[in-house]
């Protein structure tokens, strides 16, 4: 055992560290709840302030913010159908339908408990499997990234519950929109409509806010009621106990989602949004009642939240061991480490062992703190949102959307992008196109294109393009998963028919 582990465990319980972790989690939840304010942004803003702090204090604070922000994104995803952070996209699929049925607090309790369990499983992997898993992540090259995104795109079959053609069209539109801007290879400017601001591509967060938020506001206005009665808050007794008992009976759901979250977190470039989407898809596939997903199934919320919180620790594994951040917030944390003169690698676990392990164990405390903070603030926010009249809530959501879209790049053009996507989302929803596949295409498009083009170039250099795509072991595994993911709905429907015939 590393000699730094025991003093680090004791360090975590020092009043200063406990206070900073609590502050970090609280601030993180607040930032995560507000659409457009990401964990990356919150950590980036605070990094300069931590420079004057002792390294342990700074890292503990930033770790708390990271955990809290990823968890906080679920609140707005559940209550107003707007993911507070991109990681909470999959939480909207079942969280919001639950809220519409008056189960907002149950959804928040499910998100809280799953986030805590997922987060703790993630930290477990961070402590024990860091060296092993970080080696596997280094084997991901362009072909593997291409197949990973292909596998990710098969989720469209799950997201498009009503029409598979419309789901595919949504996904393809998202992929097409992701190609706007400068090409990753050869640098042509594509589909910029003569606008300089579009040369850097469509900003993802404003598009996401527009697609999810504005249609919701317009549908609030469509309804003539003065109260936001789509999410009436039902008082229920012993809800925490019941949610906990339900989740405990589904250990594989939480374990599978947390493992997926950790693995996706380890892979550089694939963030919490992809982790949550993949886990959600797997939860649907494994369920005996897949048609209930998207209609308010708590398992959908549990899968997404366990996964995106496990991803937090997953993204720190390659960051601490190899200096390769698994996700954007981890990249900013890497900056904080370097600012303190600490270089990732073996030195972190030997020379700076006490600081590193205190940081890692503080994540355990941060995750545990999310339980009381999430449950109490969730109840409060849930009650508050349902009591605000539509005449205040609708412009308030627009106000937050404007701030969220603007604050990413401090560019008013992003607010226009948000509005345009809002209009597309509103009419798209009316025509039966759900925003999920479009967002999925938009997220995966750039990674998919880069993987495809770079793999082709690698293949040309090696003398065989097909070989580079179809013979590498991780690629093969991902191809099998992709084929299985496409074939599974067909197999299951045939099995179902067989059962019916019997």
């Amino acid at each position: 055992m590393n000699p730094a582990i025991l003093p680090s465990i004791l360090n975590v319980f020092l009043p200063n560290n406990l206070l900073l972790t609590t502050l970090g989690v609280g601030a993180g939840i607040l930032v995560g709840t507000l659409p457009g304010l990401s964990a990356t942004m919150a950590i980036a803003i605070l990094v300069p302030f931590t420079f004057t702090m002792m390294p342990i204090h700074g890292l503990v604070l930033l770790g708390g913010i990271y955990c809290g922000a990823i968890f906080g994104g679920s609140f707005s995803a559940i209550l107003i159908n707007t993911p507070g952070t991109p990681s909470a996209i999959a939480t909207t699929f079942d969280g919001y339908p639950m809220a519409k049925k008056g189960e907002s607090y149950r959804a928040i309790a499910t998100a809280t408990i799953s986030s805590v369990i997922g987060g703790l499983i993630g930290v477990f992997f961070l402590i024990f499997l860091s060296p092993l898993l970080s080696k596997a992540s280094l084997k991901f090259g362009p072909p593997e990234f291409f197949w990973l995104t292909a596998f990710g795109l098969t989720i469209i079959a799950t997201l498009a519950s009503k029409s598979i053609v419309k789901g595919l069209i949504g996904g393809v539109l998202g992929l097409l929109l992701s190609t706007i801007g400068i090409a990753p290879i050869e640098g042509s400017v594509r589909f910029s409509f003569g606008t300089v601001s579009l040369q850097s591509g469509i900003a993802f967060i404003p598009a996401l806010i527009g697609l999810f938020c504005i249609p919701e506001v317009l549908s609030m206005i469509e309804k003539k009621d003065t109260q936001y009665n789509v999410i009436p808050y039902k008082r229920q007794r012993k809800i925490i106990t019941r949610v906990f008992a339900r989740l405990i009976r589904r250990p594989f759901l939480l374990l599978r989602s947390s493992v997926i979250g950790t693995i996706v977190g380890i892979i550089p470039g694939a963030g919490g949004n992809i982790a949550a989407l993949v886990s959600y898809n797997e939860a649907v596939r494994a369920s005996k009642n897949p048609e209930s997903f998207g209609q308010g199934n708590p398992d959908g919320v549990a899968a997404a939240e366990a996964s995106n919180n496990a991803e937090v620790s997953g993204s720190l594994i390659p960051m601490l061991t190899l200096g390769i951040p698994g996700a954007p917030p981890a990249a900013v944390l890497l900056g904080a480490l370097l600012l303190q003169g600490m270089r990732p690698g073996t030195e972190l676990f030997t020379t700076y062992g006490e600081i590193t392990y205190t940081f890692i164990f503080s994540l355990v405390i941060a995750n545990l703190l999310m339980l009381p903070m999430g449950i109490y603030s969730g109840k409060m926010i849930s009650r508050m949102i349902t009591r605000i009249p539509v005449s205040v809530l609708a412009p308030f959501v627009v106000f937050l959307s404007i701030i969220g879209s603007y604050s990413i790049n401090k560019n008013i053009f992003d607010v226009y992008v948000m509005l345009i996507f809002g209009v597309i989302g509103y009419f798209g929803r009316k025509a039966g196109f759900s925003p999920g596949p479009i967002v999925l295409g938009l997220i995966l498009g750039q990674i998919c294109e880069q993987g495809l083009v770079q793999a082709i170039l690698m293949g040309r250099a090696a003398g065989s393009i097909w070989q580079i795509f179809f013979t590498r072991p991780i690629s093969l595994l991902l191809i099998i998963l992709t084929v299985f993911s496409i074939a599974w709905p067909i197999i299951r429907s045939r099995k179902g028919k067989g059962r019916l015939l019997k």
């Binding site: 053609v165 190609t179 003065t226 205040v392 106000f399 701030i403 008013i412 025509a431 495809l452």
Partner: protein, 148 residues
């Protein structure tokens, strides 16, 4: 009357045509991915177009009443004006003005003036609170205007 799926597929075919036309100028590797995606979009749009003759769309896009679209249209115009005026008048003033305008517009059925006053005060408090939090704590520099 044309159904929603047919209208949607025709719009999508228009997008297919435009993006295909635009992609002719790209370098070979720059065009590889988008052109493949554009062709897939074309095929899927055609499938949707053909299906629209066999399957009636369940969604009501162009059949809803004026009663529904009029408030949506008015609110949309207010939101667009809000965003367009931000760089000219400033974030704080525009937000107070349009937040209040939308609240008054949606509250037109509220007959008690004190409820309206309470909501307008709530509006101003929310905007001011969030403005201060984002501008002063989170250091987000919003477009300045007449006052701030």
């Amino acid at each position: 009357m044309m159904n929603n799926n047919r209208i949607s597929s025709l719009i999508l075919l228009g997008i297919f045509g435009y993006f295909l036309y635009e992609s002719r100028k790209f370098s070979p590797f720059g065009a590889l991915f988008p052109r493949t995606i554009v062709y897939i979009l074309g095929v899927l749009s055609l499938i949707l177009f053909v299906l629209s003759f066999f399957k009636k769309s369940e969604n009501k896009m162009f059949e809803e009443s004026r009663e529904i679209y009029l408030p949506v249209l008015t609110a949309s115009i207010l939101v667009i004006a809000w965003v367009v005026l931000i760089p000219h008048i400033g974030f704080f003033i525009t937000s107070i003005a349009f937040f209040s305008l939308i609240t008054v517009f949606l509250d037109k059925k509220v007959k008690k003036p004190w409820i309206m006053v309470k909501r307008l005060l709530m509006t101003c408090g929310l905007v001011a609170g969030f403005y201060l939090f984002f501008a002063k704590v989170m250091q987000v520099p919003f477009p300045e205007g007449v006052l701030f």
